[in-house]
Amino acid sequence: MLANYGFQDGSGDWFLVIDTDKCDGCGKCTEACPVNVLEVGPDEYDPFREEPVVKVREEERKKIRYSCASCRPGYGEKPAPCVITCETGAIFHSEGWKLLYGK
């Protein structure tokens, strides 16, 4: 499942996307994130899944645009730390940051 956490407003798409089929719940990204946006827990969107999965903390979902901005997702010299750390390639950001701040 592609879990899109975040929002869309007049200026763009601001989502941190988790591919739950790739996520193994290792939790390394939660430690890599400098602003503590991620957590590991039960899959809220698939009640039949037994393995834990990474997700964006509830209180962060409406402010992801600002929380993630410090890592310059999609346009920094390197990918965001959560993306770098994830060995299974389960995390990525939508285009909002890149389109608005990248140029």
Partner: protein, 276 residues
């Protein structure tokens, strides 16, 4: 040299007439529905005030979200450029400018010469703008001035969950129903916008001195919330809502009728540090 600077924002238009760096006259008016008409009327009024005629003005530069509507201007410059130009004159130590108007908010990083190094904007969304405060003041049935005063009296910090002005309004209404004191709600509203504005400011990176301008800078309650949010002092120049027009006038005087803002020349943060 006789010049004019005109700033048409979302809600108000500001005009400044300047002669060799000295302000001769100035005025502000709501833009209403017909922004062009409101601007022309105000411009005539300010000219009259100064005893000048249209043809006396050698150069007119406009700025603001509707700057292009000033048909009689020789040029239009971006708000960030106008802000930077004026602020560095008023407060030379300024390095970060926070400009919050009725419908937009922006943070600008400048150097000692007033060059824009980086900027970030919040637009097309009422959260983090003066409109947000207006909406909440209406829900509280108090004026903006009362709201500013009230929030200064508050000692209680209540978090607001809503980012959106529409949802914020319902949240304020439920706080009123829950018998939350109005001054605490006022502070919660200011804290909420300050949080949003602070997030935008952090995109460019905060560097002292921080100067706040725009209509919302007149709201002392909000300024207190912003200081708390940024954990730094915030300098407010006199008449912060005229700064955009002042910058446009200064540009006109310098003969600058076109200006581009080059953003994103700030140093990048070190990723290795945070990923280790």
């Amino acid at each position: 040299m006789l010049v004019a600077g005109i700033d048409i924002g979302g809600k108000n238009v500001h005009v400044i007439l300047m002669k060799d760096g000295t302000i001769l006259a100035k005025g502000a008016a709501p833009t209403g529905i017909n922004k062009t008409e409101a601007t022309e009327q105000l411009y005539d009024k300010v000219l009259q005030q100064a005893g000048l005629r249209l043809e006396d003005i050698e150069c007119v530069v406009a700025t603001g979200s509707s700057g292009r509507r000033v048909s009689f201007a020789q040029g239009v410059i971006p708000e960030a450029a106008a802000d930077a130009r004026a602020v560095v004159q008023l407060i030379p130590s300024a390095r970060t400018i926070i400009d919050v108007g009725a419908e937009e908010g922006r943070a600008i990083k400048i150097n000692s010469e007033g060059k824009v190094l980086d900027f970030a904007i919040n637009e097309k969304c009422a959260a983090g703008t003066g409109t947000f405060v207006d909406t909440m003041a209406r829900a509280l049935e108090i004026t903006m001035e009362e709201m500013a005063e009230a929030s200064l009296k508050s000692t209680e910090s209540i978090p607001m969950n809503a980012q959106c002005a529409v949802f914020g309004e319902s949240e304020v209404v439920s706080l009123i129903h829950a018998k939350t004191p109005k001054h605490d709600i006022a502070r919660a509203v200011h804290d909420a916008i300050a949080g949003r504005v602070g997030s935008v400011a952090r995109i460019v990176g905060l560097e002292n001195d921080v100067v706040m301008i725009g209509g919302v800078a007149r709201n002392t309650g909000f300024v207190e919330s912003l200081k708390r949010e940024l954990a730094t002092d915030v300098i407010i120049p006199n008449e912060p809502d005229f700064v955009g027009a002042l910058g446009a006038a200064a540009a006109a005087e310098a003969g600058v009728v076109e200006e581009k803002v080059e953003a994103r020349v700030v140093e990048r943060q070190d990723y290795d540090e945070s990923s280790n």
